[in-house]
Symmetry: C2
Subunit: 172 residues, 2 copies
């Protein structure tokens, strides 16, 4: 990297134009998009998976997803997962374990951290003003059907649910 220019910056998104030298010596410009890291939580209660139905702009549709949220300043991914789960669904996790992470966007260093939540207890729901969320429970069988029918398109929801399915297959 021989130069980096901030071309756009807002609370949630930064765009940087980096001038880089390739290993073969050529110079090129690379547009980097920086977004905050986030967590996605797979809450499991009495053989059911808790999902949320949320209105998504800019796609302007109701989307079925696992609860997710940005990691706030000074928070660890796990702390964030505890907080987001309770805020969005009203359930508090007794147990929370990491089931991996991934990079949603090659053009970014953003990380999505995935957690499995167990031992759910009632907590306190607290939605942002921009959030309209319905909480829904689905059986493993229903999740499997939605996965194979391609009904779920939210990246971290897909990665976490597919991982959960693979983890729960005997002998896999």
């Amino acid at each position: 990297v021989i130069d980096s220019e901030v071309s756009y910056q807002s609370k949630f998104v930064s765009v940087l134009d980096d001038t880089v030298i390739l290993p073969n010596g050529q110079e090129t410009t690379f547009t980097r998009v920086e977004l905050k890291d986030y967590v996605t939580i797979l809450p499991f209660l009495e053989d059911k998976i808790l999902m949320i139905e949320i209105f998504r702009y800019p796609r302007n549709c109701l989307n079925l997803e696992l609860p997710s949220g940005q990691i706030e300043e000074g928070e660890s991914p796990k702390e964030s997962a505890f907080r987001e789960l309770e805020e969005e669904t009203g359930y508090r996790a007794g147990k929370l374990e990491s089931i991996g992470f991934f990079h949603p966007l090659s053009r970014s260093t953003q990380k999505a951290h995935l957690f499995l939540a167990n031992e759910l207890k009632e907590g306190e729901r607290k939605l942002d003003m921009t959030e309209q969320i319905n909480v829904k429970f689905y059986s493993i069988k229903e999740i499997r059907k939605m996965l194979s029918a391609g009904k779920l398109t939210h990246a971290p929801t897909l990665v976490a649910l597919q991982k959960f399915m693979l983890m729960n297959i005997n002998g896999y």
Copy 2:
């Protein structure tokens, strides 16, 4: 949406600040990031899966992924998948079938289209000057190990490989 302002635009990325009215009547600003749709291809040959090792900026590391690429103007996702597979790996697909799509980023309408490629034959490799790519074959068993160890972090690679694993489990 009552207003939309283009705040940044380059060949690969646009950022728009949209002023929207929420269903509850409140006005808010939403930063939308638009990126080109892309394809990711899972090439399957003689019980092995072909992957690529590619250097990724801005994370500055070699990453193991399935071949992917942006859909060009006027191209269908399937046409793009045929082209990208051959350009990046030198293999031409005899058969290409959709195994779904997803949205990598909630803040965007971008779509990632996934394809399973079969009946691979030798074609002509053609890399971009910014691409440094090694082609590698992995057995299903090796892929399973890497998935469960969390070694793969490229979103469409994860979604496609997990889907493939689920599709190939008897009785699932």
